[in-house]
């Protein structure tokens, strides 16, 4: 029941993001921040705790390599130059907030509400993939689903959402340069 309520809350958060972002929702920082605020409110209501341990941070950094390796190799083989840093800082700050909030909610709050580990990994990965559809379209679902499963695996391995949060934030920041 709690998981259903949380998923309903996630749907509302995605809807709010779409409304605020209007026709440029994927690049709208205000829309991303509204979305993050909704998720954090839900996580606070559920009293989610995210212990940060050294093991979680190390696992998260390993996750960055895992998630970025296939994309980075493709970039390298295509001999594409790395993207310039103009405009990186404000974008990066917003990304840290939004990616962090997503992980606290999906791999923290929702994960704990689901209890059965494999169900938690699966449901959080599907939710992760679907919440990106209004931003990037259905074409991004296979990649986001795969990354969602890896992030769920990290959560299981580390015992805290801190590990997938480090991976998610790190991969997003690296993603800037792999455009």
């Amino acid at each position: 029941m709690r998981a259903v309520a949380l998923l309903a809350g996630l749907a509302v958060a995605v809807g709010m993001r779409v409304v605020v972002g209007d026709h440029d929702v994927a690049r709208s920082i205000p829309a991303g921040l509204v979305f993050a605020a909704c998720l954090l409110v839900l996580s606070l209501a559920a009293r989610t705790r995210v212990p940060v341990t050294r093991r979680a941070v190390v696992l998260g950094l390993v996750g960055v390599v895992v998630v970025c390796l296939p994309v980075g190799l493709g970039h390298l083989l295509a001999l594409r130059p790395l993207h310039a840093t103009d405009g990186f800082l404000p974008w990066a700050l917003a990304v840290i907030v939004v990616a962090g909030a997503e992980e606290v909610f999906l791999r923290g709050t929702l994960f704990e509400a689901l209890r059965t580990p494999w169900v938690a990994v699966l449901v959080s990965a599907v939710a992760f993939a679907l919440l990106h559809v209004p931003l990037y379209g259905w074409q991004a679902v296979p990649l986001d689903l795969a990354v969602g499963v890896v992030l769920g695996g990290l959560r299981l391995e580390a015992g805290t959402a801190a590990a997938p949060a480090v991976t998610h934030i790190g991969a997003d920041l690296v993603g800037w340069f792999l455009r």
Binding site: R2, G15, A26, V141, P142, G175, W176
Partner: protein, 227 residues
């Protein structure tokens, strides 16, 4: 541990192969493009560098282009991209040359207003240049100056003296549109001149969303208390 890592890399690799065009950003704030570079900037446009040209070549073997051609201008993201499969262009050898150059709009399509630059595409070989049936797979992308909706339509004309014709156009990104490649000539995006942007107030949706969120929060707190 090593096996699990390998499995994770494989999983992401498969996901990447199945989502070849997906941006490698997993949270959802897409990295911003640089401001649109105009040949003839409208008043109030940001000062930018000049828009770029692009070119590519393919060897001609047995009378057709033997390489696939990928031509994109150098802005971030590219304002013009063209993908032409191998054997799509028939011409004399030894080389087919594709050149793309941005132009200022000189006239408007009927009932529409050109958005951004016009892009002139030339194909040069030894002798006449024609498209083969393989060229039906060729695609051309243009970035609009805005992601405003309703979307613009791609316009094409073989030469500057010809009338513009609207092409079937699909949205390929927030402000990127794709259409079939019709051959050398001029391409541009154009919004309907009469189409005032359809805007409704977002406030009722935001207030409604906030109320539903409050209800969900109350439910979550109550369930937590009874757990």
């Amino acid at each position: 541990m090593r096996r699990r890592l390998l499995a994770a890399v494989l999983l992401v690799g498969i996901g990447r192969l199945l989502s070849p065009d997906a941006v490698p950003v997993y949270d959802g704030i897409g990295a911003p493009d640089e401001p649109y570079r105009f040949v003839a900037p409208p008043s109030g446009a940001k000062k930018t560098a000049d828009p770029t040209s692009a070119r590519a070549t393919s060897p001609v073997v047995a009378g057709v282009s033997s390489y696939g051609l990928s031509v994109a201008t150098a802005e971030s993201g590219p304002q013009f991209s063209l993908f032409v499969p191998p054997r799509s262009v028939a011409t004399g050898g030894p080389t087919l040359r594709v050149e793309v150059a941005p132009l200022a709009p000189s006239d408007q399509p009927p009932g529409a207003r050109i958005d951004g630059n016009v892009y002139g595409v030339t194909l040069t070989g030894a002798g006449p240049v024609t498209l083969t049936p393989q060229a039906a797979l060729a695609t051309l992308y243009l970035r609009a100056t805005t992601a405003a909706q309703p979307p613009p339509k791609m316009q094409y004309r073989p030469a500057a003296a010809d009338p513009w014709q609207a092409l079937d156009t699909a949205r390929a990104g927030q402000d990127v549109y794709v259409s079939d490649f019709r051959g050398p000539g001029q391409y541009a995006l154009a919004f309907a001149a009469s189409a005032a942007e359809h805007r409704t107030s977002r406030l009722p949706y935001l207030v409604g969303g906030a109320l539903v969120l409050v209800v969900v929060v109350v439910v979550v707190v109550r369930l937590r208390a009874t757990a």
